[in-house]
């Protein structure tokens, strides 16, 4: 316990230290995230209220459908949180920080480190789950139980705590069993992970939206119960069923089963991790150590290329499995979302305005994924020069060239998104008749976002944190870039809405957007030139 508390104390010091410099900008960053969290919560509450209110008019059938939706939400969150926990734990094992290296040389029990990591993950994971699941559950309570009682809150918190425990323990066990296999697999490992993600997404969607579900709308009352009870999520052996039951019905045998399951998982997870952490660390360290010996890469062709800067930056991403894997992960997430959306949309065909709104919604999500991808891969490109700027900035190269090579690489990196952004409209519901405007607008927006992020990444690059793209993209400049990108997405989405809803001239709107883009890029280019000339080595 002493070890765990000491390490948690060190974490609180890290937070304090983070706020010690550039406090105002960091408070703004935090505020930005709080606003985003509030926005997500409010959106979830708003839509859940409307949806559950409509369902409540169908009495018992409506309530059962609402319960089903809560179960589906819990299952999806469990799956996403499990994926996130797994990635975090594997990263912790494969890329141990210097702090972990240091801990390994001290006479402390492995369980202390395991407990510390568990507690830390618990605090980190609980907030996103509360933000997303909270409003849905509260809305259910308001509509179906006449208000949010203290007991309901306790049941909800119980379910969320259990969910986090299940996610962290299972994530830990799987990570400790798989980390050794994942080490050194690099790009192939990232592909296998993405494939697994897609297959499991498909299975999950089949479980949540089986074919029988479409029959529910037309079923007689007797058939309804038979069909409902035959749905995969009505299986009371599922732990997510237990959690749903606790939230919607009360503390009973399922709460007891949940406690037993969580205790069992904590016990197994602690035992596996405590036993494996040191040998696993040693084994992984050895592989990392061996990998640090000189090895031959396939010929990069620096001697023959006319764009050595571009090639260098491309290799910096390609030879960094974490960046490559993150890019694939985001693309897989985007595919998951669109698959999910295509399945949901077939059940209740909306009216014309609803169809256009759903297209715009999908369009915005596509650009959101592109922004997240760019923030991680393109925006930090200049900051990544942190440790090598003594070299690159003292070469007889014009600094404009340095910026332009990164901007150009950004444009190359979004090619998969552009292709995806065209193909997706062929499978999305209601979008087939608008394929041309949607493809043009998505291609335009993706390229504009890539250019903007490439330039803004070079304005005030965070050289000191260059090794950590996450920190770079959550710096003050990162948040400003996020806001500007959001503004561009909103503008393009508004223009698209005008074309689809009001039938406004596409040529006219594209002319306006192109003029806007030229002004933005020209301004950014000039400003970037100014700031780049003031970089210090």
């Amino acid at each position: 316990m002493r070890v765990t508390l000491s390490l948690l104390w060190a974490d609180t010091q890290a937070v304090k230290q983070w706020f010690a410099t550039q406090t105002l900008s960091k408070i703004l960053v935090l505020f930005g995230f709080l606003v985003l969290g509030g926005f997500i919560s409010f959106g979830a509450l708003f839509f859940s209220n409307i949806f559950f209110f409509n369902l409540s008019q169908y009495q018992l059938y409506g309530e059962l459908t609402a319960e089903y939706l809560i179960h589906a939400a819990i299952l999806i969150l469990l799956w996403l949180a499990l994926g996130s926990s797994l990635i975090a734990q594997i990263t912790f094992l494969l890329n141990p920080s210097k702090n972990v290296d240091y801990l390994m040389t001290l006479p402390i029990k492995p369980q202390g480190i395991v407990d510390w990591y568990f507690m830390r993950s618990f605090f980190i994971n609980i907030f996103p789950l509360l933000i997303v699941l909270g409003p849905i559950a509260m809305s259910f309570a308001q509509v179906f139980t006449g208000g949010v009682s203290l007991l309901f809150l306790l049941r909800f918190l119980f379910a969320v705590f259990a969910l986090v425990i299940i996610v962290n323990t299972l994530g830990g066990i799987i990570a400790y069993l798989c980390a050794s296999m994942a080490k050194g697999k690099g790009v192939a490992g990232a592909f296998v992970t993405a494939l697994f993600f897609l297959v499991s997404t498909f299975v999950l969607l089949q479980a949540i939206f089986p074919k029988e579900m479409t029959l529910l709308y037309r079923a007689s009352p007797e058939e309804f119960f038979v069909l409902y009870n035959s749905l995969p999520l009505s299986n009371n052996y599922l732990p997510t069923y237990w959690l749903t039951h606790v939230v919607v019905s009360g503390f009973d045998i399922y709460a007891f089963l949940t406690i037993i399951l969580c205790s069992f998982l904590i016990f197994i997870s602690t035992a596996v991790q405590s036993q494996k952490i040191i040998p696993l660390y040693q084994r992984l360290k050895e592989r990392a150590f061996a990998a640090s010996f000189p090895r031959a890469y396939s010929r990069a062709g620096f001697l023959h290329t006319r764009s050595p800067l571009l090639l260098k930056d491309w290799l910096s991403l390609l030879r960094s499995p974490s960046e490559f894997g993150y890019g694939l992960f985001l693309i897989a997430m985007a595919i998951f979302f669109f698959l999910f959306f295509t399945r949901v949309a077939v059940f209740r065909p909306p009216d014309m305005a609803g169809k256009i709104n759903s297209i715009i919604f999908s369009f915005v999500w596509l650009l959101f994924f592109t922004t997240a991808y760019l923030m991680r891969l393109v925006f930090p490109l200049m900051a990544r020069e942190g440790k090598t700027r003594w070299y690159i900035l003292t070469l007889p190269l014009h600094r404009d060239l340095l910026v332009l090579s990164k901007v150009f690489l950004g444009c190359l990196l979004v090619i998969p998104h552009i292709v995806f952004g065209v193909l997706i409209w062929f499978v999305m519901p209601y979008a087939k008749e608008y394929i041309f405007p949607l493809s043009v607008m998505s291609t335009f927006a993706i390229i504009l976002l890539a250019l903007v992020q490439g330039f803004l990444g070079a304005v005030y690059p965070n050289f000191l944190q260059g090794d950590n793209p996450e920190r770079v993209s959550t710096s003050m400049m990162g948040i400003m870039t996020l806001f500007l990108s959001s503004g561009i997405i909103a503008l393009v989405a508004y223009c698209l809405h005008s074309i689809l809803q009001n039938g406004d001239s596409m040529q006219l709107i594209m002319s306006f957007l192109l003029s806007f883009a030229i002004c933005v890029i020209a301004t950014l280019f000039l400003y970037t030139r100014y700031t780049v000339s003031r970089y210090r080595v």
């Binding site: 890290a14 006479p107 040693q282």
Partner: protein, 237 residues
């Protein structure tokens, strides 16, 4: 397990990474109360040998004992009696030097008052002045080295294992460092270090081992009139 009169006892220790033999059948002993300096060119296997001794890597073959404790079976015991200073002592950048020392004391299970007293004692070792209250992120390599060295000493270890002890230190601190090591062995401690700085080894070590291509190619006691430079050149050619 009774404590051995040999502080470090390495027998036929090897470490291979695939076809690369980083450490090859190394055998050496260091008696209690001595400073043993391992010298050798880059890539000779010094750091690998040290990492094997502190449990960061597992040996491929062979065995080693520190004060009678086996590195294969009793690593937890070994961690209690050693202080390890790596070649790049970076950890917990967001803590101040003093907080880092407190954390180390806590993790090593020292009572709060002992930690406080030890920090007060250790503070006087190097002229760190206000540096200890500043974030380690802003430390020079030398200051980082000094604080990490103090953290090694906080729990009064019996054996110090040090990789490149004086890289980045100013001349004054090198002298303090060397004298502290001498003082440490005078009180019964043992030091096992790897270094590139021949003059440091010559001045402060009792014994020296020359490592080349994973093997110990020569060992000898330091004599006041010996020239390590000539010997080193001869053995590593």
């Amino acid at each position: 397990m009774p404590e051995s009169s040999l502080a470090v006892d390495i027998r036929e220790l090897s470490k291979s990474f695939g076809s690369l033999h980083a450490v090859s059948q190394v055998s050496l002993t260091v008696p209690t109360g001595a400073i043993y300096a391992l010298i050798g060119p880059n890539g000779a296997g010094k750091s690998t040998l040290i990492k094997l001794l502190v449990g960061l890597l597992r040996p491929s073959r062979g065995e080693a004992h520190i004060l009678g404790f086996s590195i294969a079976k009793q690593m937890e015991k070994i961690k209690e009696i050693i202080g390890y200073l790596p070649d790049d002592p970076t950890a917990y950048d967001y803590l101040s030097g003093e907080e880092f020392l407190q954390l180390t004391g806590n993790l090593r299970g020292l009572p709060a008052q002992t930690i406080k007293d030890r920090i007060s004692e250790l503070k006087t070792l190097f002229p760190l002045h206000d540096t200890l209250s500043q974030s380690m992120q802003a430390y020079s390599r030398g200051n980082r080295q000094k604080v990490a060295f103090l953290s090694c000493l906080i729990a009064r270890p019996k054996v110090l294992i040090i990789d490149e002890p004086v890289v980045g230190l100013d001349p004054e601190s090198i002298i303090v460092f060397g004298k502290t090591l001498r003082e440490f062995v005078k009180h019964g401690g043992t030091v096992f270090l790897a270094t590139h700085i021949l003059s440091f080894a010559e001045q402060y070590a009792d014994m020296v081992g020359i490592m080349h291509e994973g093997k110990i190619v020569h060992e000898e006691k330091i004599k006041t009139n010996s020239s390590l430079e000539v010997l080193y050149e001869k053995m590593t050619k």
